[in-house]
Amino acid sequence: MSRPYFYSLVRAAMAVGIAGAAVGATAQPSDPVKIGLMLPGSGTFADLGKGISNGFKLYVSEQGGKLGGRSVEYIALDDESEPSKANENANKLVKRDKVDVLIGTVHSGVAMTIAKVARETNTLLIVPNAGAGEITGAMCAPNIFRSSFSNWQPGYASGLLAAKKHKTAVTISWKYAAGDESVKGFREGFEKGGGKVLKDLSLPFPSTEFQPLLTELATLKPESAYVFVAGAGQVKFVKDYAAAGLKTSIPLYGAFITEGTLAAQGEAASGLMTVLHYADGIKTPKNEQFVAAFNKAYGAAPDVFAVQGYDAAQLYDVGLKAVKGDTKNKAEMIKAMEGAKLESPRGPLSFSKSHNPIQDFYVRVARGNQNVMTDVIVRGLADPSPDCQP
């Protein structure tokens, strides 16, 4: 064989050798409970991943670094919000690192694959953000919990709010699962409050060409509008909406539309009303203590993602305490977690039959760089999760 060919073989062999050594070197101590954090560390959702992780770790440090009486070992993995790598990544945590619980993730597509792996391997999973209804719907399982929300919930709550002042509405969203579910929730809430949704406008994900939809919106002349887009799209949408002169003529409602992007959206977002399960300025002792502790530990104010991470840790602690740290006793853990009644910075938190949060939803107004709470629109809202057959 040719020499360069031989060298490339040698290279491959060395690579294999190093990999083998790496495998052998991962010795695992048996005492600490292993938490697999599968969150985005890069890309647009990196900050959300960091918030969740910080919230989780804050709770653990408040418990003296222990959960259920055992010390904690974190195994963190950057899922890059890539659904195509999700299978491999989740399997890495479950099969190679043998984690006791999976905490992940932000992106719904990745989360669904994690849920699939969790079901196949019967690993405990707590989803600290992804709102895909399917996770606690058609794909629900005893070992899958969610500490955040389902896309339906904020949509429904927004619908209730909009129906208080308006009789007609038009929705705008990206044509993907999250958008569809959110809009469906809005429609149900709005119609429950006596309103009528005139039309659902949509555009392919992740297009940011909102102009034709805004023009159509203007011609339909509804009394209100509800939007669901995310990331760079939400910045552009809010700015385009204001620039098109619609902010004053057709009041805009949304859920996450101003979350984390107020600085970028600037004046265009000022005064926007949104509905979510957390807000700035919730005046309960628990929240004020949480905000102070978070600020002290990380030098920044917490957001809804940090709360979701914090509550994921709380929920797992409840389960672990009930079995005194014996993670093999899954059935008991799950039973305890199902019945958990947590005091969260967001308010009282419990879980429905499909293991999705039952929580209060707040009305917020964008002022400066904060989404300030002004009211509670609904208490103890649960996602009906009709597709979940446990």
Binding site: M1, S2, Y7, R11, R96, T113, Y176, P204
Partner: protein
């Protein structure tokens, strides 16, 4: 005499390699067994591209389209439209659909040359990418689809093996990969294979001698497409999921990189490249969060500094483009 020694040592090396490969699952490391299965599938993908790039001299920047298409055929048949979940129907379907689509697309794109060929293959791959990304009837979702399960190997009441078993899937893929290597070896020694290499060396000369160059290129394009579809099918089976990113230009770039790492125009290049690439990714990402950076640096260094056989091969392609001297 020396060639006999070479082929004997080469045969020994190949035998040793397959022995190690066959023995790997016995280490009872399910995660790593799956990882090696993934690498084998990627090498099949790379080898299929090598037929085009290394042996015919056609640089396709859209090869991921066939990879993804193969996977999506399984997804649509098995999960979305519940037509069939049988291995014996879905696998051939994936290969046939991809090969015939490659044939039809090839009729168009093979009219272009050089840089234009690269761009046109990229364009068609993008078209397929957006179709699977946006059109609901084709699964239309940026998140892709989670599949109902592994294909069933049942033939009536008899079930010869269960692909849901990690080791079984591993051996199934291994056998297919060995078959692919055998097929490629035979193909490259056949008149077709020789003609393709002749086209790579000097297309005009081949035309002058009277070879129907277009037809040969089309044949290579079709076969490469079908084989990539097979790899994509297996990838979907392994992950129990499909995703539009399987068709993205990043995927096409990755497989080209695998070829350059391993060595183009050398049958085992795809295999070596796939192993190196995946191991490189695993190592880098376990050491640093910024592994994309180091991957980029590695790519740059490999391309700039790589010694020996690979460079001379690509320099030959280079002279082909710089000026058709002969």
């Amino acid at each position: 005499m020396s060639s006999l020694v070479k082929s004997r040592s080469r045969a020994a090396l190949i035998a040793l390699f397959f022995l190690m490969l066959a023995g790997f699952p016995l280490l009872d490391q399910p995660f790593y067994t799956e990882l090696v299965t993934r690498v084998m599938i990627l090498s099949m993908f790379a080898i299929s591209l090598d037929l085009l790039v290394g042996y015919t001299g056609l640089i396709s920047f859209g090869h991921a389209a066939w990879f993804g298409l193969g996977g999506y055929v399984f997804a649509l048949l098995g999960t979305k439209y519940h037509v069939t979940n049988s291995l014996w129907l879905t696998l051939p379907a994936a290969v046939l659909v991809t090969a015939s689509t490659a044939f039809m697309i090839g009729l168009f794109v093979l009219r272009t040359r050089g840089m234009f060929f690269i761009m046109v293959t990229l364009a068609f791959a993008q078209i397929f990418y957006f179709l699977f990304h946006d059109v609901k009837a084709l699964g239309g979702s940026s998140d892709g689809m989670n599949l109902r399960g592994k294909p069933s190997a049942a033939l009536g009441p008899w079930v010869p093996f269960e692909l849901s078993n990690t080791e079984t899937l591993y051996y199934f893929v291994m056998i297919l990969m060995a078959a692919l290597l055998l097929l490629m070896t035979l193909l490259l020694r056949s008149p077709l294979g020789c003609a393709l290499q002749g086209i790579r060396e000097n297309e005009h000369r081949m035309e002058a001698i009277g070879f129907p160059v277009f037809r040969y290129k089309l044949a290579a394009f079709t076969i490469a497409g079908g084989l990539a579809g097979l790899a994509g099918y297996l990838f979907a089976v392994l992950n129990s999921a499909v995703n539009p990113e399987m068709l993205s230009w990043h995927q096409s770039a990755d497989v080209l990189l695998i070829l350059i790492l391993g060595g183009m125009g050398q049958l085992w290049g795809g295999l070596i490249g796939a192993f190196t690439f995946v191991l490189l990714q695993e190592l880098l990402s376990s050491f640093t969060k910024l592994w994309h950076l180091w991957l980029g640096v590695t790519i740059v260094l490999v391309v700039l500094l790589l010694p020996g056989g690979m460079i001379s091969l690509s320099e030959r392609i280079n002279s082909l483009w710089q000026g058709r001297r002969t």
